[in-house]
């Protein structure tokens, strides 16, 4: 089996999620007799030649210097037509979300996105989460496949070192008529809340129900001297400004205590808070994915519990 791993670069630096995908590919290859190659657009970082992989394919073309989904698709199309890999693995980055589905349609090769495991069990088995992380599904593959790997699914420190050669691969992108024109990147003006330094965070999820209930969480935060955090829906509904959002499209936090109130624990939320020292979750659904990463769990209605905790803490402070 021939596996290619695409190495995404952000401003010249290798994307961490791509390296995790490489670690996953190596792990799979060790259990089978597969061979792993890396594919990289533009200059090859030295780092990449220090891993145990068969080769690095380097594709240098001015069209690939900055991200354009149509040029990326055509370049990769030419790589695949020349080398026929059985599986191509990507990190499940936002960029992957933008161009790899298009590549899948172009090649007529299915794209199994956001996988948490690639295994060999009498053949390739891909595991991904469905129903918002409530169910896992194992998929089998016939023919070739494109795969993306969820952030954090494989550990970076499990990458095996070695050395490898770099091969140049020529592409011709003249045929592409670009109809997508990416422009400048920007950050919205930074708010006043820096959750990354917070020692205690009381985080509110959709389980809070309505805006009028927000004071229940705010009072608890106040007595704890905590910052307020939130999941995405709470920001989408306008109950808190965006600067309070924790997760892949919000802030990454690592407080001493993260108290999750009515948050289900979707992966995009988890990536922003799983580094917290103590995670306490209150959720009425005992099967909510948040309990997979919580140190302490309370399966209950937050409206019955939270005001009482606030009172207990107030009494203690006197």
């Amino acid at each position: 089996m021939n596996i290619f791993v695409f190495i995404q670069k952000d401003n010249g630096t290798i994307n961490r999620n791509s390296l995790e995908a490489l670690a996953g590919a190596q792990q799979f290859a060790r259990a089978t007799d597969a061979q792993v190659s890396a594919v990289c657009f533009g200059e090859v970082n030295d780092q990449l030649t220090e891993y145990d992989i068969q080769q690095v394919l380097s594709i240098s073309d001015p069209g690939l210097n900055s991200y354009n989904p149509q040029l990326y698709c055509e370049a990769f199309n030419q790589v695949i037509s020349a080398h026929h890999p059985d599986m191509v693995i990507f990190g499940h980055t936002y960029q992957t979300r933008d161009w790899v589905p298009r590549l899948s349609a172009k090649l007529d090769i299915p794209f199994v996105s956001d996988c948490i495991r690639i295994q060999n069990q009498n053949g390739l088995i891909l595991t991904r989460q469905i129903y918002q992380g409530k169910i896992n599904t194992d998929l089998k593959v016939e023919g070739s496949v494109l795969v993306s790997i969820q952030s954090g699914a494989y550990r970076l420190d499990s990458i095996v070192s070695g050395n490898t050669s770099v091969q140049q691969f020529e592409v011709n992108l003249d045929s592409v008529k670009c109809t997508v024109h990416p422009g400048e990147k920007f950050q919205e003006s930074k708010g006043s809340v820096d959750l990354s330094r917070a020692k205690i965070i009381v985080a509110v999820g959709r389980g809070i129900g309505k805006e009028e209930n927000m004071p229940i969480a705010k009072e608890l935060a106040e007595v704890l001297g905590a910052e307020l955090g939130s999941s995405r829906p709470v920001v989408d509904y306008g109950w808190l400004p965006h600067e309070h959002q924790v997760g892949s499209s919000g802030q990454t936090v690592s407080p001493k205590l993260y108290l999750a109130l009515g948050i289900s624990g979707a992966i995009q939320h988890q990536v922003g808070m799983k580094g917290s020292s103590n995670i306490v979750a209150i959720n009425k659904d005992g099967n909510a994915p948040i309990f997979e990463i919580a140190d302490y769990g309370i399966v209950a209605d937050l409206f019955e519990i939270v005001p009482k905790i606030t009172q207990t803490l107030k009494d203690h402070k006197g």
Binding site: V180, K185, E188, L224, S249, G297
Partner: protein, 258 residues
């Protein structure tokens, strides 16, 4: 602008997801269905664009019979027409085959724009709108957080990137964009809207004649199961008073919050 909005019927957030006995599907009996969340934002964005620039909004759904409810809700909110793609058993695992069915259903409509949600809450492929862009030869953008019509042939979108970054991208029409939640405030249907809905047409496209499985590359379901926990959670139990006092004790004495 002639805009198609792809809207999927999915279990609502509070529905219990229970595996069938043979672990090949979930039990459908107790599920309450709703429209996929990001699709409601996609519909709102399409309606706002129509209100500002004129045109037509077509709500399109593929799935079991009950999926027509998703279309009716969209019509009540202001969509002009429905397009229902019938399907007896939808497993949703092979999104590439699904996209081929949509391509057949949509290809003669010549939409200027296809709006879809960035990802469905059940299968979560995050792909359909982008697969269609390639199959229908349209430009595309994923994770859209804002739209602006520049002229008859071009729009500008704000795309979300990781960690609070964004990017402007211009797209030649026709274009297919996937909408991220939170870019607008989805409206509720008015009483008048609900009355009007009954007069609006829903075209039906029968997908049973389409062979979408012709590819030599295929995905099959092996099994479904409940994920195993990676962390040992200590559950705090008791009456609300007991829980509050145990948790207070934990926070004060073990985690040392003060």
């Amino acid at each position: 602008m002639k805009i198609c909005v792809l809207m999927k019927q999915v279990p609502d957030n509070d529905s219990a997801i229970i595996l069938s006995n043979d672990s090949s599907s979930i039990k459908l009996n107790d599920i309450t269905w709703c429209t996929n969340e990001s699709d409601t934002y996609a519909l709102e964005e399409a309606l706002l664009m129509k209100e500002a620039h004129g045109g037509e909004v077509v709500a399109c759904s593929f799935g079991r019979e009950s999926s027509q409810q998703v279309i009716k809700d969209a019509l009540a909110k202001g969509a002009d027409r429905g397009l229902y793609i019938s399907e007896e058993e939808s497993d949703g695992f092979d999104i590439l085959s699904t996209a081929k069915i949509f391509t057949q259903a949509l290809k003669d409509e010549n939409f200027d724009l296809i709006f879809s949600g960035l990802q469905s809450n059940d299968s979560g492929n995050a792909q359909l709108g982008l697969l269609l862009a390639e199959m229908l030869n349209m430009s595309h953008a994923a994770l859209v957080m804002g739209t602006e019509v520049l002229n008859d042939t071009r729009i500008k979108v704000k795309q979300e990137l990781e960690g609070g970054w964004f990017q402007w991208t211009e797209l030649d029409l026709p274009a297919s964009i996937t909408i991220q939640s939170g870019l607008n405030k989805p409206r509720y249907a008015s009483l008048r809207g609900i009355m009007m809905m009954k007069k609006k047409p829903i075209d039906i496209f029968d997908s049973s004649q389409i062979d979408s499985t012709g590819s030599k590359n295929k995905i099959f379901l092996d099994k479904m199961y409940i994920p195993q926990k990676v962390k040992e959670t200590t559950f705090i139990e008791g009456t609300p008073d007991e829980i509050a006092s145990k948790l207070g004790d934990l926070m004060i004495n073990d985690i040392k919050v003060f």
